[in-house]
């Protein structure tokens, strides 16, 4: 994982400390760090440069009297600027038209077919729509079959014409068919294509012309690098699309392409894909994305990562326990095992806002848990079930039994209480700043 931007800025701000105002000279190092963080996050070279220029103008224009803590002010300017560029409010999908027609577009493998299925499910469940999916990818092996399988899973019909190699004709016919069957939503999946493929770009323009969609979505892989600007621009020039879908955000990419695309085509990002399953769709949160690009920590992805490791049952059970405040030492033990399974503890903790820096010089290895486990194993089943039983005698016995000290037992009990608090907050979706000593040894 890249070094957190706020850490980097803090370092470069040391240069600014004690200086009353922001000047061209003292801001230079800071802007370099910002620019570098953006490039590490795959923001396009030119966009990153323009972004830092804008930030600079804004910072230099600030009333110098307020610049007592230039460091903090810069973080805020950068973050605000980024959030604003990402689009300060969520933009809804346009469902006018009867039926409303949505056309998918994008490069090969970006996630169009998968997202077509997700969107159909989402609009069926959330907006009470009666969708039909249309298979217009006549090229990729088994592309039609793929959409059919998804349709079957979702119990949503799929219109396809086996053997017909003309996607424009298929799309037109599908709309007629949809009207006839009373579908109020038509989602048209298309083949992946490169922006430089003249013939294929003409084809999708022709599909657009043929069916006059209410909404054209450009589906883009969030791991895309510098080329995102070229592709987005070319597709937008051709299709004048209405919104962007950012897929595969369940990965650990910083997703700077999102910023590049916003800057170059100025179209809203409407949805994100967060997994391969049909429910893994989310509306776009600009602030969350800004945090992610800057590496400011994203508690949401931490929770998601944790969830990934649980089986569904376990997650539900835990959720209930947390809500009722019944989280006990057995759960704590299970948690430790989960965390150990997740691998690199430090990476994981780095996702918690504020934690990155605290952990910078702390060595964490999996042995960190050895004592903790020993202590818990020395508790009686009743004690593990009900942590409130723990009195002085019990603590002493546990310390002896586990070959640790009473201080260590006390520390663990304290940690446990804090973890419980923290877990409860996570369960309720609140942000938190955990005390650093929780993870220090």
């Amino acid at each position: 994982m890249f070094e957190n931007l706020s850490d980097k800025l803090e370092r470069s701000f040391k240069l600014l400390k004690g200086q009353g105002k922001i000047t061209e000279i003292n801001i230079a190092e800071t802007l370099k760090e910002v620019r570098r963080a953006l490039l590490d996050a795959d923001v396009n070279f030119k966009i990153a440069k323009q972004f830092t220029d804008t930030v600079k103008e804004k910072a230099l224009g600030q009333d110098v009297l307020t610049a007592v803590k230039p460091g903090q002010m810069m973080v805020k300017i950068v973050h605000d600027e980024l959030t604003e560029l990402m689009g300060s409010t969520a933009t809804d999908i346009n469902l006018k038209g009867s039926p409303s027609v949505i056309l998918m577009s994008g490069l090969q493998g970006s996630g169009k077919t998968t997202f077509s299925g997700k969107l159909a499910k989402y609009l069926k469940e959330k907006k009470g729509k009666n969708p039909i999916l249309v298979a217009c990818d006549v090229y990729r092996p088994a592309a039609i079959e793929q959409l059919k399988v998804l349709g079957q899973q979702l119990n949503i019909p799929v219109y396809s014409e086996d053997g017909n190699k003309n996607p424009v004709a298929i799309a037109k016919e599908a709309i007629r068919f949809a009207k006839q069957r009373g579908h109020d939503l038509v989602i048209v999946d298309t083949a992946g294509r490169l922006a430089v493929d003249e013939e294929m770009m003409n084809e999708i323009s022709a599909i657009k012309k043929g069916i006059d969609p209410n909404e054209i979505l450009f589906v883009v892989d969030s791991m895309t690098g510098q080329d995102a600007v070229n592709t987005a621009k070319e597709f937008n020039d051709r299709l004048d699309f209405d919104g962007v879908v950012l897929t595969k955000l369940d990965g650990d990419t910083r997703g700077g392409a999102a910023l590049s695309i916003r800057a170059v085509v100025n179209k809203p990002i409407k949805f994100v894909g967060t997994g391969e399953k049909m429910e893994a769709l989310d509306v776009f949160h600009p602030k969350r994305m800004a945090d992610r690009i800057l590496g400011m920590g994203d508690i949401v992805s931490l929770v998601e990562k944790a969830q990934e490791q649980f089986d569904e049952q376990e997650a539900i059970r835990l959720q209930k326990k947390l809500a009722k405040d019944q989280f006990n030492f057995n759960d704590f033990l299970a948690q430790i095992n989960q965390v150990k399974k997740m691998g690199n503890l430090k990476d994981l903790a780095g996702m918690i806002p504020g934690m990155g820096k605290a952990l910078k010089d702390v060595e964490i290895d999996d042995n960190a848990f050895v004592h903790v486990e020993a202590i818990i194993y020395s508790m009686t089943p009743a004690e593990r079930e009900d942590p409130s039983l723990m009195n002085g005698t019990r603590r002493k016995r546990i310390a002896d039994g586990s070959g640790t000290s009473i201080q260590e037992v006390n520390r663990l009990l304290k940690q446990f209480t804090e973890t419980r608090k923290m877990m409860k907050m996570v369960a309720q979706g609140k942000r938190f700043t955990p005390p650093a000593r929780n993870v220090r040894r």
Binding site: P141, Q146, T231, G251, V264
Partner: protein
Amino acid sequence: MGLFGSFTLKKKESLDKGLSKTKESFFGKLSRAIVGKSKVDDEVLDNLEEILISSDVGVDTTLKIIERIEKRVSRDKYLGVNELNSILKEEIASLLEENNSNDVSDFDLPATGEPYVIMVVGVNGVGKTTTIGKLAYQFRESGKKVIIGAADTFRAAAIDQLEIWANRVDVPIIKQKMGSDPASVAYDTVASAKANGADVVIIDTAGRLHNKVNLMNELTKIKRVMQKVIPDAPQEVLLVLDGSTGQNAFEQAKQFTLATDVTALALTKLDGTAKGGVVIGISDQFKIPVKYIGIGEKMEDLQIFRRKEFVESFFEN
């Protein structure tokens, strides 16, 4: 409208122009900037930086390249544009691991007596299945007995997709039902290859993001199970990277290597405008050669990777 509203409107035009302009003029600038100097001009380095970063080479590797070039130039006291031009490309190319079959135009494989097992891995949608189709075609064309295994039992119609490829290039496929155990499919495939004296086995796996521990463990398991049939299988673990992927490819290489000991890379979709420069840093850091590049969706659209041509492409438009 905030600051960025005006930013987008105002700067968009120059950006449009800029995007197409940069690369053409690099060598023009180069010649102007260096004539009669013994140190590389800042303007040249700035331009080089832009070219490399815009090709997804990444900041760290770009700085490393620039440093090497500066050193080399101060040592060699270069004479003119042509020299600098070739020094540039040499230095960049030298970061890429030498591929053993570098100058072999056909798709050769070591003759071991056992079937040569290639396990293909990578994140979602990069082009694994397509690359397998193309590889199977190449191996079959060069007279090898090929067998492919459909161990992506997860994604909708993944098995059908591979089966169409198998028919297209006319090689046998081993498959089970959707949802079955991928390790068991891999086992069957390798066992069948051994029994039938096949030369090459190619195993397709489901796309998976490298930060999903369970899915990465599954790969390790698939690998282990094949070793019950052929102890040193898979002789090759081919990580497929999408040529348009940015810096995240580093993390992909790292995590897939941890889980499966990746031995070679394939870089796909280079027929687009993306340059795929991130492989330079990856190849350098993990000492893994790039073996193949994908340049289209047809079965012939696979080539052996060539370092020099690849680097050249950064400086073309």
